[in-house]
Symmetry: C2
DNA sequence: AAGATATATATCAAAATGATATAGGGGTAT
DNA sequence: ATACCCCTATATCATTTTGATATATATCTT
């Protein structure tokens, strides 16, 4: 899915800055999709040029101007047409669909080359890390810095998607806890 | 994790071609990690220059020469040192750790913009696709074209990692089946 | 007979990452 | 106190990766 389409989809829930888009991706949408600033900011500039979004600069004392992006009608049409036209591509994994790069799984696969004590520590850390991710995804409290993307997080679709990821993480934690002895001991 | 380190890790189980490395990533290591030929072939060339692997060309009638890569002692040392030194990086997600890009999850998140009938079809297709992935991961039969990477697939580490991914996929299928009505109906 | 799938390597424009720069505020640990 | 880290906020860029395409043939399917 193109970065610009993802930005439009998120902006459909309300105006936001590039920084907020990144924050949502790292918070409630943790484990779903991640993008670097190096792709978010150019995408927002491109969308502005193409009139799919408008931008309003808010001067801030001693901080860079906050650039709040708002999706236009033209942007909404473009987003909905693109999503419908390309929805088939996003279902299957492989070249299209989910891009899977689990460095943790590769580490486990190669863990024969690691001292047992290190493996224990790695698994302990991973469980902790996964529990923290779970907290980020399932967090229901208010997001002070942003009132717009709350709506997306709490929508039926947001709840379904976050619930799916939460179940997946719980399964992984449980699997590691019950099977870890096979990798050390 | 650098592509070259992943190639070395896989070659540690036995000599292989770039094509076989890609096949393993798409077969038994499906949903764990994926790499394109455009990064595998340059990585193997680089590793050859650095003497971490050796290459033997097998002329094939009317096909490109098969280039079989074998890890060197130097390569094994480099791999084990790198893995140990960087293992901490691969535990946590975020900038380091797993790179998550689930286009399917984003599609679900944005599915308010899609006709209900399309959503039904997308979920049906996804379940089918996930079941096929499960078959690829859990396949236990012989891999005719390659006898080396069998060992990695069937090792304790291989079974653990593939088992983890299989459980995760089963959880996802089950979640979609029991909750899908929230997205259409 | 046409089309898809499999074997096998290679290249490359376009896209994305990961790091860094800039710049100040607030918290906190030694 | 002052060193250190995290938060807000945008921007840039070398390096890496993707996704597509080219090349060439055999085999299986429709």
């Amino acid at each position: 899915m193109q970065t610009s389409v993802i930005c439009l989809g998120l902006l459909r829930s309300g105006p936001a800055t590039g920084y907020v888009i990144k924050s949502v991706l790292e918070g409630p949408l943790n484990q779903i999709y991640n993008l670097s600033f190096g792709s978010i900011y150019p995408a927002l500039s491109k969308l502005t040029k193409e009139k799919y979004v408008t931008v309003k600069q808010h001067a801030q004392d001693k901080k860079p101007d906050k650039k709040v992006y708002t999706i236009t009608k033209r942007g909404i049409s473009y987003f909905e047409e693109t999503l419908l036209a390309e929805s088939g591509k996003y279902v299957r994994s492989g070249n299209y669909g989910d891009q899977i790069k689990s460095e943790f799984a590769m580490l486990l696969l190669f863990s024969k080359s690691l001292p047992k004590q290190n493996i224990k520590l790695i698994l302990d850390e991973r469980i902790l890390s996964a529990q923290q991710q779970l907290n980020l995804i399932t967090y229901e409290g208010p997001i002070a810095k942003d009132s717009n993307l709350n709506a997306l997080r709490n929508s039926v679709q947001g709840r379904f998607t976050r619930g799916l990821m939460a179940e997946v993480i719980k399964t992984a934690i449980n699997y590691i806890e019950t099977n870890r002895k096979k990798l050390h001991d």
